[in-house]
């Protein structure tokens, strides 16, 4: 397969300004919260103030007497119909999988869990009436800490399950036959580095609070929702509510960011669905930011125990990972699988011969965790890139050199890793050389030495991070073998309109990524149609009825192939029409530059628009031909794609105040071929900043009773423009083999690479003071304490 034969790729590769912008910069956007329907009612949700308590009584009757209130219900009132919010990734056969009611029935297990629902004429009336709902709680002991939760006699989050451990999942390269035995590697090693890293709990913090509107009045129940997964949601709503799938229409209109945080079937969606059914009127629920931070799923929150076995020449012999992953109070849609996405990435870009990974998922009385940008892969990359630095220090090697001695050479691709993954392509040396050059690596090392020498109170640290990631989720068979509940294919369809305009239907569901622009560029090249003449339809199960949505850097890597395949089917369907018009044999026809021509005759070609009009009229078509050029395609990938890159960070660390200032940041990423470099650069910028932010700023913090302390943007500190440096970005391009566009995926790359780059830089700055770790986020207090404590570690 090639891009439209003989035609220069006019659109793909150019920095097209986005189509989406026109509505977004003028305030004409259709957010779910902007959907207003005749007779619409508003929902308010009463949430538990306790992290763990028995609900002994809920009385919603007083709320019903409040002005404007139409309905009110508790968990008990809907216990028979609400079912359990599903977990689609039960990673082991014997996973402990508790019910997850949308509205708590007998017990609440985290602060913020829904307890009662009020439906009223206005949002204000609904919120006011919550105060009238009467709830009696009997507080129960809470368990918050991962290790404490696994200790003998710990309070149980789900008493009936008898344990706080939901699963233990193991990968061992010796057992899998993909590598050696890690215990032997540890025994044989000349150097063993052991470290414990903590992935603090993060909040995805999409800017648009989640919102859902349900209209039960039509033949189909229509659900507008701020989601990444309209198609999966439709399937799950049908499965859980018993409403037949064809009687449900899900629309994800403009969605204001997701980062994994909207990869969910939320209690609020279920509540709105139930409420709409009860009152028979359209209902709307929009969360407040405080409710969002408290109850929408969180990310990360793991303890990583890492053992790295190596020879003194820097060759790594084996890696052993023991992971505790905080699942929170329930299992989310893909939550248990998040650590597994990391499991295949701890060996990163390296040729480790032996590897063992063991992960236990743990229940605590906290908000549940699930996918957040990178989902497992940032955690893995952080741990390995931090410990590779420790190995470098132990051996007196430059951190880049120790990486180079272990990474897969460009000529070694395709390379089967110790996890059994087949890395398709890459050039780690090229990306690293480029990053060093842009960064001025050697000069900065010299300056660092000088500043150490003269005891400068502001020390310079240099952080290195190399990474790869598995994206383009995912080959369906692989997902099946990992016990994921769905496949990983993606769909696309092309509709040729009579006037030659084109509707592109995609099963991906963008929420800021710019699919409308990128998909238009691809189709423009494939069909020889103007960029402006293409409309991309997505996120509405009525127009885009088939799809697996957007997450895991999959949309272009998987959906892009479906799109190209659908386009090529259209061209093939048009071929006999053009031949008929040109009165030639199909064999004598060539397709180039968006025109069918008789071979060797440059004049008098026929475009797809000509064919579309001819098919629309259908007056004069080849005998027996179906008057239809439309085509669709579904593509199931045969492999993941493996973007990679090298990021370098220069951090100035003020040892007197603990303040960290990022002086320079260089990101060189290889995401394969690029459809729109402007969009790719934007993804890298945003991704890197989220990674920097984990390193420096963000943490969801609970107090000892399980109250979320960082429940607003005043306390959960997202960085502002003033907190961040200019980034320097560049790319190398190693096309993805076997992909007609050569693309790999870019959505998560920056977030994966940036966090270890920053922390490595800070630790590097403080090495002379004996510091070998600082717990994230590296706040001034933590940095100062590390700089001033004996032995360094904070």
């Amino acid at each position: 397969m090639t891009i439209a034969p003989d035609r220069p790729a006019a659109e793909v590769g150019t920095a097209r300004r986005r189509k989406e912008d026109a509505r977004l910069i003028t305030g004409r956007t259709l957010w779910t919260e902007n959907v207003t329907l005749p007779g619409m009612l508003h929902i308010a949700i009463l949430r538990s103030p306790f992290a763990h308590a028995r609900i002994t009584r809920v009385d919603v009757e007083p709320a019903l007497r409040e002005p404007g209130v139409v309905a009110a219900f508790s968990g008990r009132d809907v216990a028979d119909v609400q079912g359990s919010l599903p977990c689609a990734w039960p990673v082991t056969e014997d996973i402990v999988l508790p019910d997850r009611p949308a509205v708590a029935v007998d017990e609440v297990r985290f602060a913020g869990e829904p307890v009662a629902v009020v439906v009223a004429r206005s949002r204000a009336a609904a919120v006011d009436a919550l105060a009238a709902v009467d709830v009696d709680y009997e507080p129960l002991p809470v368990v918050l800490d991962l290790e404490a939760a696994l200790a003998e006699g710990a309070p149980l989050v789900h008493a009936d399950k008898g344990t706080n451990k939901t699963y233990t999942w193991v990968f061992d390269s010796a057992q899998a036959g993909t590598g050696g035995a890690v215990e032997a590697a540890l025994a044989d090693a000349e150097v063993v580095i052991r470290r414990r890293y903590r992935q603090q709990r993060l909040v995805p913090a999409f800017m648009e609070p989640r919102s859902v509107v349900v209209d039960p009045t039509g033949d189909q129940v229509t659900v507008w929702t701020s989601t990444q997964i309209p198609h999966i949601l439709r399937f799950l709503l049908a499965a859980v509510t018993g409403t037949p799938e064809h009687k449900i229409r899900v629309i994800a209109p403009d969605v204001g960011g997701g980062f994994g945080g909207k990869l969910a079937f939320t209690p609020e969606e279920m509540i709105a669905f139930l409420a709409a059914k009860r009152v028979g009127k359209p209902v709307k629920y929009t969360e407040s930011r405080t409710d969002s931070i408290a109850s929408a799923h969180h990310g990360r929150d793991m303890i990583q125990d890492i053992e790295l076995a190596a020879r003194r020449d820097g060759t790594v012999l084996g890696l052993k990972v023991n992971l505790l992953a905080n699942m929170g109070a329930y299992l989310g849609l893909v939550g248990p699988g998040v650590p597994l996405l990391g499991a295949f990435m701890y060996n990163a870009i390296y040729k480790f011969p032996a590897y063992r990974f063991e992960c236990s998922g743990v229940f605590t009385n906290t908000t549940l965790t699930d996918a957040y940008r990178g989902a497992g892969r940032p955690e893995a990359t952080y741990a390995i890139e931090r410990i590779m630095d420790e190995l470098a220090v132990e051996l007196g090697l430059d951190p880049i050199e120790v990486r180079r001695r272990n990474w897969i050479g460009h000529e070694e691709f395709p390379f089967t890793t110790v996890c059994g993954l087949s890395y398709d392509s890459g050039d780690y040396a090229a990306a690293t050389d480029r990053a060093k050059e842009l960064f001025g690596y050697d000069d900065l090392r010299r300056e660092q030495a000088e500043r150490r020498e003269r005891g400068d109170p502001v020390q310079l640290g240099i952080g290195v991070s190399t990474y790869t990631e598995m994206c383009g989720l995912a080959p369906s068979r692989v997902l099946g073998s990992l016990r994921f509940g769905a496949g990983g294919w993606e769909s696309a369809a092309i509709r040729m309109l009579p006037t030659g305009k084109v509707e592109v239907v995609t099963g991906t569901s963008p929420h800021g990524q710019g699919h409308e622009t990128a998909w238009s560029q691809i189709v423009a090249d494939q069909l020889g149609v103007a960029f402006e003449d293409i409309e991309v339809l997505h996120g509405d199960t009525r127009s885009a009825y088939k799809g697996l949505d957007t997450y895991g850097s999959r949309s272009l890597a998987v959906g892009g192939i479906a799109l190209v395949n659908a386009c090529q089917k259209v061209v093939e369907k048009a071929r006999p029409v053009a031949a008929h018009m040109l009165e030639c044999d199909v064999e004598d026809l060539e397709w180039s530059g968006g025109q069918f021509r008789v071979r060797g005759v440059p004049e008098g070609g026929r475009s797809l628009a000509d064919c579309a009009l001819a098919v629309f009229a259908a007056h004069d078509l080849p005998d027996g031909m179906e008057p239809n050029l439309d085509a669709d395609a579904v593509y199931d990938p045969v492999n993941f794609s493996f973007p990679h890159g090298t990021h370098l960070c220069a951090a100035e660390v003020d040892t007197e105040t603990g303040r960290v200032t990022l002086r320079g940041y260089v990101a060189v990423d290889d995401v394969g071929r690029v459809v729109n470099p402007l969009i790719v650069e934007g993804q890298v910028h945003g991704g890197v900043v989220q990674g920097i932010s984990q390193a420096l700023f963000e943490e969801a913090v609970y107090d000892g009773d399980g109250n979320l302390l960082s429940s607003t943007f005043a306390d959960y500190t997202l960085p502002s423009a003033a907190d961040l440096p200019d980034l320097v970005t560049d790319r190398t391009e190693t096309p993805a083999p076997g992909h007609p566009l050569g693309t790999k995926g870019v959505g998560e790359a920056g977030t994966i690479a940036a966090t270890p780059a920053v922390v490595n830089a800070i630790v590097d700055a403080l090495r002379p003071r004996g510091v070998n770790d600082i717990q994230m986020p590296c706040t001034p207090e933590r940095v100062w304490r590390a700089a001033h404590s004996q032995g360094g570690a904070s």
Binding site: A15, T26, G27, R28, M207, E681, H685, A722, R731
Partner: protein, 193 residues
């Protein structure tokens, strides 16, 4: 209920409002000005920023009654069929200064105010000026570039079209040493203290 009169995007509205009504709720729910959005409940995110008598305010931290008798400009009134896009809007589009676009109305209105007070801000001044507006998608870098471009345009200068990005892409197989050197020199200048 209190009677208020506010001119929003050039149109005068007289309404009875509950005294507790926030300006943003009045704009969205009574006047249908849904281009202005709500991103938080602690006036941290700035998504709801509008101009009140010419100055940027977070409309979630102003009561509707406080706006009585004043002019409000929202993102919806910033451009129009008769006058096209405002230079700040134009620059946001050109520079890819938005992704999901939820913060964008507030970000643009803040930038308009910033540039009216400081027509030629440095990058650092732009970053400080946008401190009250959060964006989760872009990492802010392209927003800063856009505001810089808009400043140039508003001062009557010519905004150079942003460099076409394909120039940046290099092939791992065939690095271009000349371009690499030029880029390295540019970076070195930035990274040097």
């Amino acid at each position: 209920m209190t009677r208020i009169s506010i001119t929003v995007d050039g149109v005068r509205y007289d309404d009875d409002v509950e005294p507790r009504t926030l300006l943003v709720h009045h704009l969205r729910e009574q006047l249908g000005k849904i281009g202005t959005v709500v991103g938080c409940d602690t006036s941290n995110c700035g998504a709801c920023t509008v101009l009140l008598s010419g100055h940027a305010v977070k409309s979630c931290s102003v009561l509707a009654v406080q706006a009585d008798g004043q002019d409000v400009l929202t993102i919806e009134g910033l451009s129009g069929p008769d006058r096209g896009l405002h230079p700040v809007q134009q620059a946001f589009h050109q520079r890819h200064a938005l992704q999901c676009g939820f913060c964008t109305p507030g970000m643009i209105m803040t930038a308009v105010d910033l540039l009216s007070e400081n027509p030629d801000p440095s990058d650092a001044e732009i970053r400080e000026g946008l401190e009250g507006n959060l964006c989760r998608c872009t990492g802010y870098q392209n927003i800063v570039s856009a505001v810089r471009d808009a400043a140039t345009a508003l001062r009557g200068g010519t905004v150079p079209l942003p460099e076409e990005e394909p120039e940046l892409a290099i092939d791992a197989e065939e690095p271009d040493p000349q371009r690499a050197q030029a880029a390295a020199a540019a970076i070195a200048e930035k990274v040097s203290p």
